[in-house]
């Protein structure tokens, strides 16, 4: 269908939010565009405004300020039922008294679709979701993942749906089924080709599902990009330590006019401007003959690699060392991969492009 664009979107749950108080706002001045047929993840800690943003797109909430557009159409004031949007919630919602078939048919019947078409669509979607043989069963009798499939099916069944929004849909699903349902989603996205926006606070879910990940913090977008971009060039220190396991190392630094950043006298990075922190992922730090002198504090084995915690003065630096690679004894030197070592000012990346 169309591009979904959010323009200067702000939302507050207070009756009279103060413009100057960031704490009054769940979302602040958000500008975002979601391309048609994209697979997006909205990632952020609890309370960052993810669900609010989702509800604004689906129309369950009306924004305090700003506009929501689907293509050219301004849908800001439209009711959820009038938008071409489906939403799957954290807890599976099924209509208990209805059969699986009637559950899937419900959104179509509400919109006055003819019974023949309802039947065809429901069977088509049931086949996609592997629910064909349960169609006559009562929805209330299904397991949590089956119910969640029905919730999803009620979205897919409408031929006019432009986007499906997922609000942490795997929360109540058993761990061994999570993976299956997630790959099912990915497969559906490829086959059906609707925009999917997936809210989660789990980086694995976000990174495996989405082509584009939007990281939210305190009601603002801190970075939107591909998983690789988020990993290699976090635009904000929050993205650096929220994504990645373990997160990014952050060290205080001093920069000179040439943009060289020094930590404890060692030049570790070069940027385009001044900053106060050096950020480098544990993946891009290695032990070398020369460099920052450190003392090894702790080594924990994570299977294919080891996480080494090395100390320089009061600063701990995490280093990933591949399985089988030799480690220095107690004392060693660290070398930083220049291309992947970034300088941050007030938490934001100082562009060294």
């Amino acid at each position: 269908m169309a591009l979904i664009s959010l323009e200067k979107l702000s939302h507050s749950y207070r009756a009279e939010p103060r413009e100057s108080e960031p704490g009054d706002w769940a979302l602040r001045q958000l500008d975002l565009q979601w391309a048609d047929r994209g697979a997006y993840a909205l990632l952020g800690p609890s309370g960052c405004g993810k669900t609010t943003l989702l509800n604004l797109i689906s129309g369950l909430l009306q924004p305090s300020q700003g506009r929501v557009r689907f293509g050219e159409r301004d849908v800001t004031a439209l009711d959820p039922g009038a938008r071409n949007i489906a939403q799957v919630f954290q807890f599976p919602v099924v209509y208990d008294t209805m059969s699986v078939f009637d559950n899937l048919a419900f959104p179509l019947r509400n919109r006055g679709v003819g019974e023949a078409e309802v039947k065809a669509r429901v069977h088509e979607i049931a086949a996609l979701l592997d629910l064909q043989d349960r169609l006559d069963a009562r929805a209330a009798g299904l397991t949590a993942d089956g119910k969640q499939k029905i919730s999803l099916g009620r979205g897919l069944v409408r031929s006019d749906v432009a986007a499906i929004l997922f609000d942490e849909p795997l929360t109540v699903i058993d761990p061994h089924l999570k993976w299956r349902l997630r790959s099912k989603l990915k497969e559906l996205h490829q086959r059906v080709g609707v925009t999917m926006i997936y809210v989660t606070h789990d980086q694995t879910e976000a990174l495996t599902f989405a082509d584009q990940v939007v990281v939210l913090l305190d009601g603002q977008v801190v970075q939107a990009g591909t998983p690789v971009e988020l990993f290699e060039r976090p635009r904000h220190t929050f993205v650096g330590h929220f994504i990645g396991s373990p997160g990014m190392n952050l060290l205080p630094c001093e920069t000179d006019a040439a943009g060289v950043a020094r930590f404890a006298g060692y030049a570790l990075a070069k940027g385009a401007g001044r900053g106060d922190q050096i950020g480098v992922r544990p993946e891009f730090v290695r032990f070398a003959e020369a460099g920052l002198p450190v003392r090894i504090e702790r080594v924990s084995d994570a299977g294919r690699y080891r996480i080494v915690e090395a100390r320089h003065d009061e600063h701990l630096i995490k280093v990933l060392v591949a399985e089988g690679e030799p480690l220095p004894n107690e004392q060693g030197h660290l070398a930083f991969d220049l291309a992947h070592t970034h300088i941050y000012a007030d938490g934001w990346l100082v562009d060294n492009a």
């Binding site: 959820p80 039922g81 009038a82 949007i85 489906a86 807890f91 208990d96 959104p107 509400n110």
Partner: protein
């Protein structure tokens, strides 16, 4: 092999309850059973009569009429109170100061003693000085509940609706509050109408509280005595003589202890049977 020793001492823990139930239910009931099969002329002389009183009660038109009035009364108030209670609960505010105000207003009738309710409505409906009675007469309805059976019934039903609809409202309101928001949100996205939301979300989720409400209202209304006696005393004539009123007339008015005891047992069995019927019908789906 180990032999399992059963700790018989546990029986002592059950004893207080057994005694309590024995004294407040089993023994009085047995006394009634005792009366129901005997004839007495005082002086503590009893003559065994077998099932004669039961036959007499079952054959008597008086009992049948009282039972019919009782069934009509209960059916009427259930048909009014359950839908009305649900409707009021749906219309009540879900948050804000209005919630407490509504809840207090709703709880009020439930806190008033039964005989006071009867007395209130007795005066309220009087055609000469009562607000309702005078009002209806002023509107052109020749309304006098002490003389007209219809007017007596209208007053009786109105009183019970006023007194007890709140119970249905409170139960339903509690049931509605327990429905998670996600259901309403999903329904909005699915384009469900207000009616569809009620039919497919609210009503199914209210099933259990409504079952309780129907059972409580059925049992209470089937046993109604105090308010009705204070309001109409069973009149005019026998127009509002419900089962319990008739029972008291037989037992304490005429001192026909045998027939009264037999009637009590039949009365009790009818309530038991109908309660079981309601319960079975309303929970039938869940077996599947």
């Amino acid at each position: 092999m180990t032999t399992r020793t059963t700790n018989q001492k546990a029986w002592w823990l059950v004893l207080p309850v057994v005694l309590l139930v024995a004294f407040n239910a089993v023994i009085p009931l047995m006394a009634v059973v005792n009366y129901s099969v005997q004839e007495t002329f005082g002086n503590n002389q009893f003559f065994f009569e077998g099932v004669r009183w039961f036959e007499e009660v079952m054959k008597s038109p008086r009992f049948r009429e009282a039972l019919q009035r009782q069934l009509l009364f209960t059916a009427t108030i259930l048909a009014i109170q359950i839908p009305l209670g649900v409707a009021i609960a749906l219309a009540m505010p879900r948050k804000g100061i209005g919630v407490s105000i509504c809840l207090v207003l709703m709880a009020m009738p439930l806190l008033i003693p039964y005989n006071v309710v009867g007395a209130m409505w007795n005066i309220f409906a009087l055609p000469d000085i009562g607000l309702m009675g005078r009002g209806l007469n002023a509107l052109g309805w020749d309304f006098n509940y002490t003389r007209q059976p219809i007017a007596a019934w209208v007053t009786l039903v109105a009183m019970d609706v006023w007194h007890w609809t709140s119970l249905v409202v409170l139960l339903t309101y509690a049931g509605l509050s327990a429905i998670p928001d996600a259901y309403y949100q999903a329904a909005r996205i699915d384009g469900a109408s207000r009616w569809a939301i009620f039919r497919h979300i609210q009503l199914p989720k209210l099933k259990h509280v409504l079952l309780i409400a129907v059972l409580l209202r059925f049992m209470d209304s089937f046993m109604i005595y105090t308010e009705a006696v204070v309001l109409t005393g069973g009149g005019p004539g026998n127009a509002t003589t419900l089962l319990s009123i008739d029972l008291v007339k037989i037992a304490l008015g005429q001192f026909d202890l045998g027939p009264a005891a037999a009637m009590s047992l039949i009365y009790f069995l009818i309530i038991l049977l109908l309660s079981w019927l309601f319960y079975t019908v309303m929970t039938r789906d869940e077996e599947k």
